[in-house]
């Protein structure tokens, strides 16, 4: 059958007795974009690793039929030779090498083992034009580009390998809306040139935008394949397939939540860039949060939301701070993370792997880390049984899916890792929680559970600040939101005023105002 470029038949893959993939079947037509959807841990990444030869032939059972031929890949090189190229979630670029070097890394243009630099640069330039980066200088180091452009360099790299089947694993996870749009449009453009793509993504709106068919995987099984035109491509329909039930409301309602007095206030807050004392990153920021209130910080990437959160949280970002932080109406001196914790402030970072968790250590170790001195020790000696009891209690309370709190957090799925970070900060018994992208890269089910925890916290009278790049999340979870743009508060929206249009409107209006000055 020439119509199908790839068929995966009865794929089974086990990890020490646990079936990660159990009889997976799907077919990809020549020249289409197929999306693979599933919750975290459903087996998507494992499946792609089987396809690309990361798990060599023999470690799984089942057939991979590519262009009518049964393939037995022993490594990534084997699959790349056939034209199957995978772009992983984490960028595989060497930051200090030039764009041209990165594009041809592992695939050097050479004659008799000597690299032909002229050809390398010329070909790199051509490839950059194909991905819409024709104006970039191929000789500059790749880390001088933003994440969005780096992702496009990855695609150029794949094209340099003469890819016929491109696999993108969460390509837009780190990109903002505009960059994501650019990447998706590039996919459509490549499709028009005859490229076949498989995309894995949690962002269902993106999938409905680019995909011709959607294969849904749940618990290692292929559940169904939806075709464009014949099947319903709505987000609700996809979610139903992924979780196996209708998730009628993605944002649980907060009921009987009393909003009290202002307990957290930032006044005239100014911060400069940590490496450049003349560059002001945050200008005259004023925000207030009441007890039991959930307040959003909306804005585009680079608007200064994370910078604001981190500068408040023990001055972990920036220099030359001015302005006041008031907690319960009293001015608080917060100069270190320890001060922040003592003032009952908590910050759940946007990047749980880098800033939130110690991956090699256990769930228990991570959960109690921030509260250790205050709640789990006497005269510097750790109370280990108290620690074990509390960790166990929180494991149940926020539903971390694991058998024991001794398990290393590195082995948990993203959603469960996020729950551990949340538990870690809940255990410090804060009054004010700042949650930076609390549901980034985690599946719908885990998101719902995290929203539920947020609601419980609000009900118990905590003040909560949510930073999110997903506007529906801000709208769905917050009582009120501030819109940040270029380090300033561009506006404030309350209750039903919060819509995607209104948020964008505030940003545009702010840009225009700045333009006039």
């Amino acid at each position: 059958m020439a119509e199908y470029i790839l068929e995966m038949n009865h794929i089974v893959k086990e990890f020490s007795g646990v079936r990660a993939l159990d009889d997976v079947n799907f077919k990809v037509r020549q020249g289409e974009i197929m999306a693979i959807c599933g919750e975290n841990g459903a087996g998507k990444s494992t499946l792609m690793n089987v396809l690309s030869g990361v798990y060599p032939y023999g470690e799984y059972s089942g057939d991979i039929v590519y262009r009518g031929e049964t393939c037995k890949f022993h490594s990534i090189r084997d699959s790349e030779k056939k034209g199957i190229v995978i772009i992983h979630q984490e960028l595989a670029l060497s930051p200090y090498l030039s764009i041209a070097e990165n594009v041809f890394i592992g695939n050097e243009r050479k004659h008799n083992g000597v690299i032909d630099w002229t050809e390398t640069r010329r070909e790199a330039q051509k490839l950059l034009e194909r991905v819409g980066l024709g104006h970039e200088n191929v000789n500059v180091p790749v880390n001088s580009l933003g994440v969005g452009k780096q992702q496009l360099i990855e695609i150029a790299k794949a094209l340099g390998k003469k890819a016929d089947l491109l696999i993108l694993d969460e390509p837009t996870a780190a990109l903002n809306d505009q960059e994501s749009k650019q990447l998706l449009d590039l996919m459509l453009q490549l499709k028009a040139q005859g490229m076949t793509c498989i995309i894995i993504s949690h962002k269902l709106n993106e999938i409905s935008y680019v995909a011709d068919s959607i294969t849904i995987i749940r618990d290692g099984h292929t559940i169904e394949t939806l075709q464009k035109g014949t099947d319903d491509f709505s987000e609700e329909r996809i979610i139903k397939g992924m979780v196996g039930r209708e998730l009628t409301n993605r944002y649980p309602k907060r009921e009987d939540c009393k909003i009290g007095d202002v307990i957290f206030e930032v006044k005239n807050w100014n911060v400069y860039h940590p490496d450049d004392a003349n560059r002001q990153m945050l200008k005259d920021i004023n925000i207030k949060v009441r007890a039991g209130e959930v307040v959003g910080l909306a804005g585009l990437m680079g608007a200064g939301r994370t910078e604001l959160a981190m500068s408040i949280f023990g001055r972990t970002y920036g220099q030359k701070f001015s302005g006041d932080i008031c907690i319960n109406g009293k001015k608080a001196e917060i100069k270190s993370v320890q001060d922040a914790i003592n003032h009952k402030l908590a910050y759940v970072s946007e990047d749980r792997k880098t800033y939130g968790l110690i991956l090699i250590d256990s769930i228990k170790f991570n959960m109690t880390l921030s509260a250790l001195r205050k709640f789990f020790s006497r005269k510097g000696v750790v109370d280990q049984s108290q620690e074990a009891v509390k960790a166990e209690e929180y494991r149940h309370r926020i539903n971390v899916k694991t058998n024991t709190v001794e398990q290393a957090v590195g082995s948990l799925s993203g959603g469960n890792q996020q729950k551990v970070v949340l538990a870690k900060w809940m255990l410090t018994q804060p009054d004010v929680l700042i949650l930076d992208e609390p549901t980034r890269g985690i599946d719908v089910g885990a998101k719902y559970e995290i929203y539920t925890v947020i609601n419980e916290l609000a009900k118990s009278g905590k003040a909560i600040i949510i930073i999110s790049s997903e506007m529906p999340e801000i709208i769905g979870t917050c009582d009120r939101t501030y819109v940040l743009n270029e380090g300033e508060i561009a506006g404030e929206l309350v209750g039903s005023e919060m819509t995607q249009e209104a948020i964008m409107g505030k940003i545009m209006a702010h840009n225009n105002r700045k333009g006039e000055l």
Partner: protein
Amino acid sequence: MENTAVKNPAQKKVNLSLKQYGMVLALIAVYLIFAVITGGKNLAPMTVNNIIMQNGYVIILAVGMLLCVLTGNVDLGVGSVVATCGAVAGTLIVDFGVSSPVAMLASLAVGALFGAFVGFFVSKLEIPPFIVTLATMLMGRGLCYVILQAQTKGPLPDSYTWVSTGFLPTIKVGGVDMICIAVAVVIAVFVVLGDLRAQAVAKKNGLPTVHTWQLAVKDIVIIGIEGFFFYKLGCYNGIPIMLILVAIVVAIYHFITTQTVAGRQIYAMGGNAKAARLSGINTQKVFFWVYANMGLLCGLAGIVLSARNASATPKAGDGFEMDAIASCYIGGAATSGGVGTIVGAVVGAFIMGILNIGMSLAGFDTNVQKIVKGAVLLGAVTVDLLSKRKKG
């Protein structure tokens, strides 16, 4: 408080992690192999005594080094600082007629000063420890030669050498010291009681407990080793002062790393410094104290070494940093930081010590000894890493 035991009525049983004790088995294996090679010479009471006498300083340094290794770094200056500390003590006694206790305090002070110096550069100025300690390695050695004017200072009085050569009084019955036997029995009781208590606590809190027979096997092996060790010491001169000193150091640092907030902070920082900082840990402070502490222990090792040699020599302590680092890695510490235990490092140091003594007894050339030690280090770490990889 809510007790989770209610939710978990069925007590879960888990297996003892064998990997944790792998190095102990390796220790026994190495010892037995040399027992065969040397025709039982290394089983002699004097040899057993020498294992502790000749390796006391390596154990002390390995303990301090482990903390550095936990942060993901090493201290290269250790050997030179040990020599300088010994040199200061020796010069004070021989040239200035200072009393032994004062000289010992001076040695500790010089070590701590060196440590604080390194700590200042690594924590406040954020200079990589590898470079700072490479500098102290050179500076320390030079300073040592300058202080001693390139000569050996000695002999040191008994009141000083007592630390490394003295023994506790003995009560010999049938040629065996009863104090040694008593200590062995007390330790055996503590080992068993400790396990029973841990099991009881786990049970009370509804946490999984270890299979009883596995604990029994573990305890028999451990009590067997310590019983053998103390019996042999009892057949010789009884308990060396050095052993008491080393035991106190090991006990203190084992407690710090396993039971205290400070210990947790070192592990957290080594595992992920950025996350540790955002969890409220003052990583600069941790860094400072880890290196300052290493300096202090160098001061202690300086006393022990010069006391054993009854003199201070400019070449003393050459290559000690490598022995200490190797002990940590053999004992299961990770080069990337965040993984490792004091007990592991001590076992690592014992393996190195048994190798040294065994090879000397077997008449291996000193150059060959280095080849073997290198191979053992590489082999131990390779096996350790490969076994971890399979699990992942």
